[in-house]
Symmetry: C3
Subunit: 281 residues, 3 copies
């Protein structure tokens, strides 16, 4: 296993402290107790799409780390080349029952509530493209480092699919890039290539792929140098308004999702989109 | 009539699709039904000032387009050289009755509510200076392209005249340039030359005058490539808070305007300003 | 006494208009009635820390100027080399009674309410480092000019001390640099060197130390060129939401401060910090 975080630059072959990894199906989680840094690696081929199973596993993993006092920071990255996460799994939104839609949407909300509200330092190491829900995961972290490959893009491109990003996706986005950039990007459903994403503030830093691990470790070390308690309260102060808004409107948001996704016109366009994806292969 | 919008770059002399133009006094409106793009051209000499008549015509024209399913986008520009719009017509605010002030202000509100809340794609082709209310029109569109002439300036310069921009002018401005830039610019009543306006994010793009038509068409085509419904819902999600604030306080805002504008000190400074404008000619 | 404000650039040895200076212990205040510009110079060695006495004097001085119709603008700067203000005086927060904490915190609130809500034009001439409460003073002005020395830094670094910046420090900060920069900077408790502070928008302008006086005067002249009434109403419109939030939660905020600062863990870390400062000398 790799040693993210506090590994000194000069010794890439550093012997590792004992590591607790819990085995998962779709997400590899490794906690280095000596540094207090965990790594969550998405490993759900072909494109790390956020299925109900994936989201459930994500929430359980995050909760375990959150409750583990040995863990202070989490790095989120992908084990699959070229893709960070392709976002919400469209098969979960197509031709399913109302109950299924409700369960799925609740899991999406849960994922965001846990990640955006996490007490741990969260750093996204975006090593591939990251549309829609994949982008939301990156946006919900404390810091985003992206591989500087212009073929990798990131954005909330829901509008391109005829779908509207939920208000809490929008709130998270606005908090990072401001109202003007968000308004334009969301209306156009833009996927921003890495250099543009950096220029807009959507990601904080670009690095060559081979430097991603080192850089992510350095950033994490910088954040972990702060006393946890003050940092956590400060984070909560910054994010509470937006988190509370979803908590207050959670059931309403689920109903909105169900009634929107159940429309025949939406179902049709999702089916067409899936057909197109299949042909691409 | 000119062909904005989808005209391919290589054929400027493209034969036009049948065009419905409705004749107006102060605003020329042309709808190209083949592309779904309408053009509103302000043509109210000498400076396209926003008189009650102008505003009424603007609202009616916009409503007609909004209700016409053949129309998906509107380009707003000026037919008068060097000036986009000089803003609210001061003669409407000077030496008139309370009833007149109320009617005038309601028309200003109506114009903004319709334009900022429009379901259509709205692009401002700012081909001249655009102070105060003229700036508001540009700010209310989805995208602003300005001729890169540094002699053309844009801004909410009300404070220069001893007037305060209404809260919804301010909200629209803050949504685009952020709180800090807005606070400074509004307090100083700044008119920003085109290059500065671009640097501040007040306009999205600068082009040489001869490229304005082509560029506006290309931008409109990009926005119209999106499915209308998702784009409209996204736009509404971004703007609803600010629109609702005026709707909730509309009568109060009218009363504020009347009591402010009726003050002798304000009337005096407006008269002096008009005298100065007359002498300039 | 120096002539800030309207002194023309070509005549640094300009004979001064009659000046009313009121003598103080910790803050030197000079009002040039001919220009309407007052200068407040912090002169409380060694580091202009914001003790209860300092804050009280600050509020009284500001109130006097506010009520003096001859005064339209205030320049805030330091008479002590290399330091603008070191922020809240830690001795006021360490080993004192609950009553003392309450009185101290009320004075901190009062200072901000008066300065952020001032009707006068306020310009910070930041001629030294400005952490925490010192930064808040600069943030509360209308405009910030900082000496371009990269050894001078500015920021809300409370988190570094294990303390959380109050919500109204945060609101003031967000209004200037936006949500994203604020979130990161507050969580990391960053002290930004002058060039970085400028890049982030935390200060508006950098100048060489020898140009600070001239530049501050020029900026003040620009702001005073506007009619007071419209500028004041505009400023109030921009800041009212944030000011009202503290006014509405003032007692609660005092209680929060007391219960936080009274914690043994916080007292311990403040004591350690003071020990460290003593050793530094």
């Amino acid at each position: 296993p790799m040693a993210w975080g506090t590994a000194p630059r000069q010794s890439p072959a550093l012997p590792l402290a004992p590591c607790r990894a819990f085995s998962n199906n779709k997400i590899m989680v490794e906690l280095d107790e000596s540094s207090g840094i965990a790594m969550m690696k998405f490993k759900s081929p072909p494109v790390n799409s956020l299925s109900l199973d994936f989201l459930t596993e994500f929430c359980i993993s995050l909760e375990k780390l959150e409750n583990n006092r040995a863990c202070r920071g989490v790095i989120i990255t992908s084990a699959i080349p070229k893709i960070f996460s392709s976002g919400l799994d469209i098969t979960e939104m197509c031709g399913k029952s109302t109950e299924h839609y409700a369960e799925f949407w609740r899991a999406v909300q849960e994922m965001w509530l846990r990640l955006y509200g996490s007490n741990m330092v969260t750093v996204a190491a975006v090593n591939g493209s990251s549309p829609a829900g994949g982008c939301l995961i990156a946006l919900s972290c404390d810091y985003r480092i992206m591989v500087e490959n212009p073929k990798f893009s990131i954005g909330l491109n829901e509008a391109q699919l005829g779908i509207v990003a939920p208000f809490w996706f929008k709130d998270t986005f606005v908090n990072i890039v401001g109202h003007r950039v968000a308004e334009r990007s969301l209306q156009l459903g833009s996927l921003h290539p890495a250099p543009e994403a950096h220029r807009l503030g959507l990601v904080d830093e670009l690095v060559p792929e081979e430097k991603l691990q080192e850089k992510t470790g350095a950033v994490m070390a910088q954040w972990l140098a702060l006393p946890d308690h003050a940092r956590q309260l400060t984070k909560s102060m910054m994010r509470k308004v937006v988190l509370d808004r979803l908590v207050a409107h959670r059931e309403e948001d689920i109903q909105n999702f169900i009634s929107f996704i159940s429309k025949e016109s939406i179902q049709k366009s999702l089916r067409m989109y899936m057909e197109m994806l299949k042909k691409k292969k």
